[in-house]
Chain length 196, copies 2
Amino acid sequence: MADTRDRLLTATAELFRRQGYNGTSVKQVTTAAHAPFGSLYHHFPGGKEELAEAVIRTSGDAYQQLFELIYAGAADPASAVTDFFDGAALVLEETDYVDACPIGTVALEVASTNDRLRAATADVFAGWMHAASSRLQSAGIPPGQAAALATTMVAAIEGGFMLSRAARSPEPMRSVGRLVRQLVVAALAEAAASTR
Amino acid sequence: MADTRDRLLTATAELFRRQGYNGTSVKQVTTAAHAPFGSLYHHFPGGKEELAEAVIRTSGDAYQQLFELIYAGAADPASAVTDFFDGAALVLEETDYVDACPIGTVALEVASTNDRLRAATADVFAGWMHAASSRLQSAGIPPGQAAALATTMVAAIEGGFMLSRAARSPEPMRSVGRLVRQLVVAALAEAAASTR
DNA sequence: TCGGGTCTAGAGCGATCACTCTAATAGAGT
DNA sequence: ACTCTATTAGAGTGATCGCTCTAGACCCGA
């Protein structure tokens, strides 16, 4: 069945979120996925590392789609930012500060210890930044500025997750979102002024 | 000797930086610290967890002192921000992206799995934000706005570490720093305008 | 010179780690 | 009905995990 593979991926993503890469054992994964132990090594012959890379890339894509969905539903780039940060804050609150970015914890863990996984996280971050950057450019912000703004948005989201989870409070995420919104508003105003 | 304890703390901080809490074994710690294995449990009877808490708190204090040092040497709050972010970017570059925040990785790892360590990281972050906030208030920014700005600074630093380490590039940290500086400049201008 | 703490030193403990191996089963094509 | 491949199933592997335990070394006041 192909869905054993999917169950392994989603169970691993869930576990990575709350306890990271090193804190998650393969036994835990197969138990949570209701999958036989041997199946993990059938679907991911490279073992834990291959599983982790697949989780990083698929979770990264899923998160990007969430971003695009929110962006599409928002009136303008500035309110998209608010929707995204406030939405993340709300989800954190409702899930007891567990349901955060499935990439962030792993990204820091592997950055200096596993180049394959490090590269996978870098690809995911680059994809997010590219998506955000092109939206901002479509709204009239020049490429260089849009890229810097997109980088800051991603950094702020990840930093917001860290602070909100540590403090067990949605406030850091919301505060950060308001200031990122301010940056977007300023960039849009500047762009509008220069094209006039 | 009290300095065995210190060697254990600094060696652990170094290891936590590059491989996190779960990725660091106590055997590794004692080897790196050139300390006998038994000494770890003499100085930290609570074992790995007690050691980790001590590392979180002492490293947090050390980082705060670094911030205050940079702030004291800067001409104004805005250039202090630039100095801090660009300094972090430079250190990352020079240390092969290893010498980042010793708290960040651990904070995400333990946020949902170890309440004692989670509380320690929350205390450290709160200390940093309080320090930054009071500096900003001294520069004339109202308390609520200063607190939000301080939160965003810390989130941006941590997010910048994550992106720069993943991409193995100092650029994300620098880009984020420039935009955080812009927020500080705007807040200072607003404060100056309102007191006139 | 002698006790009595502090600290060093590392062998050894059960538990758990990621992973391998063999065997049974399922399902599709002929 | 009969393969043949894909997948399930889990016992068993050596290595490593955090930690305990005992024994010796060191230092200081009496």
